[in-house]
């Protein structure tokens, strides 16, 4: 083996100390122990450049345009600005690969992906990036194509990068959670796989993310981070196993239950009775999940399950942080028609977004700019008081269509009452 170029890394060496697993030690294993010289060189070069960043406190990667045949996105191209000094990692692109819904893997499959990646890439991989992709970090433009070709043959596809529909995420879900109110993985795949064209060929004003959480604990952070957040919920009574309530009271004491369950209910919908049973005012329960989290043996979601849909969550750039807004307070997700209706809402939303958003504007920002009502009319969804924390405060509004709008409301209510 030819002597590979080595770089001193005194600052990075500091990150090999301490109990937490060290990514730097991993890089060094690839540099020193891997049988493939190409990987040794790449890892050595990467360590050199990273040390240089630590010394100068600046980053040295720039973007570019790299994709695979037939697609326009899914790769994060990285070209080094200090490639002359650290030549073996001059090109260090990442492939974003869509994980299985729920992030489940067999060890065999992980090994197979590892084998392919060693053949074509740097040997570094992350499960998962913040959008939800498997990130295969570090390969050349040529390696990008070859690695993709190989793993695409056995069931893997690229995720989104750029102004497109992005890779979606769902929580652990029905596979291992008693709070789950929906088939999160099914919903995720129905949604995102309906838009593969929009994933692979970025043509939207900006990114569009789906995230699916099976209950209002929202473990995948959908409301704060997704343009289209699907949250499992229920609308009948929560289930109370009074024997388990008594067991819990016996184990923890009344004071604990009153202080940590009853008084923490945001709508005062709970009462601990003198006989150590729990009374629930279900009509005022807002499904916050707190009491179910604390007493998960005794309390469970009801049987009439479905989802709440919120649209427009995102972080700061450009107008400030936005949470998703309730667009559909409840819909069932049982029949194929239900799934089709959800996909239809997503299609309407993305079409409206593509038509009406400014460049680099997220869905939530567009709604902020044009007003929620214009968006609702654009996607054909009726107004609902669940969409607001409170009605309007400002009297500066034209209300010359009041009677017609009130009539619409009463007509809808009559229709709902008729079933």
């Amino acid at each position: 083996m030819a002597a590979k170029k080595m770089y001193d890394t005194p600052m990075l060496d500091e990150l090999e100390k301490g109990p937490w697993p060290s990514f730097i030690s991993g890089f060094k294993r690839l540099r020193d122990d891997h049988p493939d010289e190409r990987i040794n060189e790449m890892a050595s070069s990467l360590l050199g450049q990273l040390e240089h960043s630590y010394e100068t406190r600046k980053g040295y990667w720039k973007g570019g345009t790299v994709s695979v045949f037939g697609y326009g996105g899914g790769i994060i191209p990285r070209f080094s600005e200090v490639g002359d000094a650290f030549p073996a990692s001059r090109e260090f692109h990442t492939l974003r690969v869509q994980p299985p819904a729920g992030n489940y893997y067999t060890t065999d499959m992980l090994n197979q992906l590892g084998d392919s990646w060693e053949k074509h890439g740097s040997g570094l991989v992350t499960f998962h990036g913040q959008t939800g992709n498997i990130m295969f970090i570090g390969t050349t433009t040529k390696g990008t194509q070859h690695f993709f070709d190989e793993i695409n043959e056995y069931g893997w596809d690229l995720g989104g990068a750029g102004p497109c529909v992005r890779t979606a995420m769902s929580c652990v879900g029905s596979a291992r959670c008693e709070q789950s109110c929906a088939n999160e993985h099914g919903i995720q795949r129905w949604l995102v796989n309906n838009f593969t064209d929009d994933v692979h060929r970025p043509a939207l004003p900006y990114k569009f993310k789906f995230k699916v959480s099976g209950c209002p604990n929202d473990c995948v952070n959908a409301i704060e981070r997704a343009d289209f957040a699907v949250i499992g919920t229920w609308r009948d009574d929560m289930k109370v196993d009074q024997e388990e309530v008594k067991n819990f009271v016996k184990a923890k004491g009344r004071e604990y239950v009153i202080d940590n369950v009853v008084t923490r209910c945001p709508t005062q919908a709970l009462s601990l009775k003198d006989d150590d049973t729990l009374e629930v005012d279900n009509h005022n329960c807002v499904r916050c999940m707190h009491c179910l989290n604390v007493m998960n043996k005794a309390l469970s979601p009801g049987d009439d399950r479905g989802i709440t849909l919120l649209i427009g969550g995102k972080r700061t750039l450009k107008i400030g942080d936005l949470m998703g807004t309730v667009i559909v307070p409840f819909m069932k997700m049982e029949s194929e028609e239900d799934y089709e209706r959800l996909v239809e809402i997503a299609e309407e939303t993305i079409d409206f977004f593509a038509e009406n958003a400014l460049e680099h504007e997220r869905t939530g920002e567009m709604i902020e700019r044009i007003g929620l009502v214009n968006f609702l009319e654009g996607v054909g969804i009726e107004v609902d008081p669940h969409m607001v924390n409170n009605p309007r405060q400002s009297s500066y509004v034209r209300t010359d269509g009041w009677d017609e709008e009130a009539e619409k409301w009463f007509a809808r209510k009559t229709e709902e009452a008729a079933g």
Partner: protein, 358 residues
Amino acid sequence: MAYEDMRQPIESGCPDGFQYMHPVMRKNFGLWKFHEHPRPGVLRHVAHSGDEIWTVKAGTQRILDVYSLRKLTEIGEKYGDGYVRFTIRSNIEYMVSDESKVDPLITALTDAGFIVGGTGNSVAMMSHTQGWLHCDIPGTDASGVVKAMMDELVDEFQNCNMPNRVHMTTSCCQINCGGQGDIAINVQHTKPPRINHDLVANVCERPSVVARCPVAAIRPAMVNGKASLEVDEKKCICCGACFPPCPPMQINDPEHTKLAIWVGGNHSNARSKPTFQKLVASGIPNNPPRWPEATAIVKRILKEYKEGAKDWERVNDWIERIGWPRFFEVTGLPFTKYHIDNWRGARSSLNASTHIRF
């Protein structure tokens, strides 16, 4: 670039997770009854059928070299059932249907240098961004900050002694890909971009850059006879939004790119509605390789939260109860003019009442 072996992609999209799921989880999909937390890093889920699944959770370095990956898979094959999943904070979870496999799994993971924990009321592994390792606009490193902090917080990851779970994040620029957290450590630039006017015209799509600015501080200008952009530095909020589409507008600075700490981000609906994180500390030196100043502040906040919060209170619940003035008092952090929001909608964050704690 043309290859002889070009092939059409198979647009398969998101793969079905069922094919990789533990058979007991497939069988009991949607039919789980309750779960217990017998010890840190271990969960026991029980289905209505009586079936059980045991989960062992371990923290990793997130950026895995194939040796670490193979070590994890080898442990899964040898001591587990060959089925794993990753959490959104890059912890690995091994699912087994037989309780007797739990202890050997924990031993094998610990022996291999992975940290078992991260369940229940622990300080979770920090979700983070790419930093100097791979990002094109980073103000700091992410993996390094996380490694340095998790070294210091490892006991809190391995134990469940916090009032409730603590989610932590870091982000290497103000776009904040790391997301919301009970405690978030994010880059905060403090000086406007330095512009290389010789390059702007050739590199940047100027109207897009102008449009990108949240405060309309950028305008086209001729500089040294070349088409370029200029920044009204009095308006500029140093967010760095112009830098990704226009690299000659360099926002990163070894000295003036600082770290800031935000608290109270909580994406659960439990008890209160979801909340975004709020600024509590800034001007913290970006100090590789171990960022001790940032870690010290995080530890101070965690200590006060641990001592002051009631059971089940997340950081935001705790502060909501005791009030922000007390938060600054107990943590000893300075309250400055920069803590008072002046962005759109800021009035709703001002106290329009006599609700004051003395």
